[in-house]
């Protein structure tokens, strides 16, 4: 555990994570005894070269993949021990996702994409409407509510994806290279929104990224190499505690 976060409430707690691909042929150690503790309200970037294990680690803490050994606790709940059905339900209720690409459902409008999560949760129509309106306003795209993804720019699509990730009021948001396909202005805009949500609402964000623009804005940067954590630095600890 990073010493600066010892007194903060832990959201993600992973011990000694191991994940090896193609163990029968040429084993690739995607995660090699990784320890990770993320506190509520953190704004964390996982960085490292391709193949360093960033996405694998993100998948582990998002419940999209399971470690070969050990487990991941989310707010004390052992998601590694959950059955597939429980895990899907857990993700729906407690984890927000923003992916690099193929983020939105192309046949749905921006409003419907955000509402989709709430529909899966079978929330009442009135609640869905007000929550979607609130989120569209938060990401500054109220005027694009009726547009389909193909009619939005890459940056706008990622902002809608962030809004969707927040729709269910998750415990944290995992973002896999969210700015990879964005120009500087769009990336800056997206990071502004996420940073504001982190600062004002205490939403925990964990990014995997190569992007120096993201790393620069992160308040904690964890560096992975060959499936191991080689550095874990807190840059602006004062801002984390907002």
């Amino acid at each position: 555990m990073n010493p600066q976060h010892r007194n903060m409430e832990t959201v993600i707690d992973a011990h000694d994570l191991v994940r090896t691909y193609d163990a029968d042929t040429v084993p690739v150690h995607a995660l090699d005894h990784v320890h990770l503790h993320i506190a509520r309200g953190e704004f964390v970037a996982l960085r490292g070269p391709s193949g360093s294990g960033k996405t694998t680690l993100l998948n582990m803490i998002g419940g999209l993949d399971r470690p070969d050994a050990s487990h991941v606790l989310i707010d004390g709940a052992n998601i590694t021990a959950m059955r597939d059905r429980e895990l899907i339900e857990f993700r729906l209720r407690h984890i927000g996702f923003v992916f690099q690409a193929y983020n939105l459902i192309p046949v749905l409008t921006a409003r419907e994409n955000i509402e989709f999560i709430l529909l899966l949760q079978q929330r009442p129509a009135a609640e869905r409407r007000s929550r979607v309106a609130e989120l569209l306003a938060q990401v500054g795209l109220s005027d694009k509510a009726g547009k389909r993804p193909a009619e939005l720019s890459g940056g706008q699509q990622q902002r809608i994806a962030v809004a969707r990730a927040l729709a269910a009021k998750p415990r944290f948001v995992l973002a896999d290279e969210p700015t990879a396909n964005l120009d500087t202005a769009a990336a800056g805009n997206l990071l502004d929104i996420m940073s504001r949500l982190n600062r004002e609402e205490g939403m925990t964000f964990i990014f995997s990224t190569h992007d120096p623009r993201v790393i620069e804005r992160a308040r904690r940067v964890i560096t992975l190499e060959d499936g191991r954590v080689v550095a874990d630095e807190v840059r602006n600890p004062d801002r984390c505690e907002n």
Partner: protein
């Protein structure tokens, strides 16, 4: 349909139009498959019904009453002792259209040109005209002349075989009720023709009194033929008569013409084979289309699973998309089929170029397709069921995707 189901249907509907041309191919396949299936069923219905109608109206009627041993060897000794009482009972039944006595004997017809084994039907001309519509089938000459005696109506096929023409003489020979050979000369009054050439070749008709004299059956008959208002009433009336007259054997048309049941079963089997081929083709088309759709959307399905869409929901989404795809093709297919059946049902489909072959099997040369109640529902359900079964494989593929792997593809 609740809000969630409506939303799921809306999303599924939009999804199927993501690849418009591919979906249109399936919609067209469903439409054509339905059209072909419905029309095929209507066509066979029309053929079978016409054949059954022909058998009832011209050959065996709805019911026949005989001596219990008559059907074993058609011996004239096995006549109906209480034919009068049975006829009285039949004529008092409101469900009976007409009941007619007959003397039916197996015998020989001889002319200068040759001889042939025939069934000699001694009939009451007036009653028989209502019973078998024989009078309407007389193609040459008359349906018995007023006051005429020793007249015979022969089938066209038999006439040709024995080189018979109107007013020519022929000799009928039977083994009479006492077992003695009995012969009498008759003159051809008319030549009939039905769509069933084997029947025309085997059956000739004389007046009942002439048959009684020929067969030494002045006080009795050996067959009662009964036509009812409704086909469905045959079995129940046969049961009632059997109970009331235990010394007589009452048979309904299905037992009198067992080949009809074979025909219905055989044709039904053929129909299943044709339908199977159509549905199989449709099924393969749907498997292919939906597999493509799932493969193309592997990343997206992975993303949906990652976001928290349950596997049964993903499975249901693929099935729902398939269902909607099929339902999109149904209206056009059904409308085209109904229009085709209505048009051909009214006008009939002419197969007269195959008349010789068809008539040798007793089939009419003009087929009027028609749908029975429930046919449409059955075939639409079959098509939907086929589509859903075909969608199981792609749906299973989507169901089994692992989100992390799927999003990497």
């Amino acid at each position: 349909m609740n809000t969630n189901q409506r939303d799921a249907a809306r999303v599924a509907w939009r999804n199927i139009w993501r690849n418009r041309s591919r979906s249109l191919v399936i919609v067209a396949s469903v439409g054509i498959g339905l059209w072909a299936g419905i029309f095929l069923i209507a066509f066979y219905n029309g053929m079978i019904r016409q054949r059954i109608r022909s058998a009832i109206d011209r050959e065996v009627s709805h019911l026949q009453v005989h001596h219990p041993r008559f059907s074993d060897d058609h011996d004239l000794r096995y006549h109906l002792g209480d034919a009068g009482a049975i006829l009285g009972r039949l004529r008092s039944d409101p469900g009976v259209l007409v009941a007619a006595p007959r003397i039916v004997a197996h015998g020989m017809v001889s002319t200068a040109a040759g001889s042939a084994g025939v069934v000699i039907n001694g009939v009451d001309p007036a009653l028989e005209a209502r019973l078998t519509l024989l009078s309407a089938k007389v193609a040459e000459g008359a349906y018995f002349t007023a006051g005429g005696r020793q007249e015979v109506i022969v089938g066209l096929r038999l006439a040709r075989k024995l080189r018979l023409a109107l007013h020519r003489k022929l000799v009928l020979t039977v083994s009479d009720r006492q077992g003695s050979l009995s012969s009498a000369a008759f003159r051809v009054a008319g030549i009939y023709r039905t769509p069933n050439t084997p029947y025309d070749e085997a059956n000739l008709f004389i007046r009942l009194p002439d048959a009684a004299a020929l067969c030494a059956m002045a006080d009795s008959v050996n067959e009662l033929a009964v036509l009812l208002h409704r086909d469905e009433a045959a079995d129940s009336l046969a049961a009632v008569l059997s109970a009331a007259f235990p010394t007589a054997e009452v048979k309904a048309w299905k037992d009198l013409a067992p080949e009809m049941q074979v025909l219905v079963a055989t044709t039904g089997s053929m129909l299943y084979v044709f339908m199977g081929v159509i549905l199989l083709a449709l099924g393969f088309g749907i498997v292919n289309t939906m597999l493509m759709a799932v493969l193309e959307r592997t990343r997206e399905i992975g993303m949906l699973l990652a976001l928290g869409m349950s596997r049964p929901r993903v499975f249901g989404m693929v099935l729902l998309e398939t269902f909607l795809l099929v339902m999109a093709g149904c209206p056009a297919g059904i409308a085209a089929a109904l229009a085709t059946v209505a048009l051909t049902g009214r006008q009939g489909i002419d197969f007269s170029v195959f008349s010789r072959a068809l008539e040798s099997f007793g089939w009419e040369t003009r087929v009027h397709p028609q749908l029975a109640s429930g046919d449409l529902r059955r075939i639409v359900l079959l098509v939907i069921l086929t589509a859903l079964v075909a969608a199981l494989l792609p749906a299973r593929r989507a169901f089994r995707l692992r989100p992390a792997d799927a999003m990497r593809k």
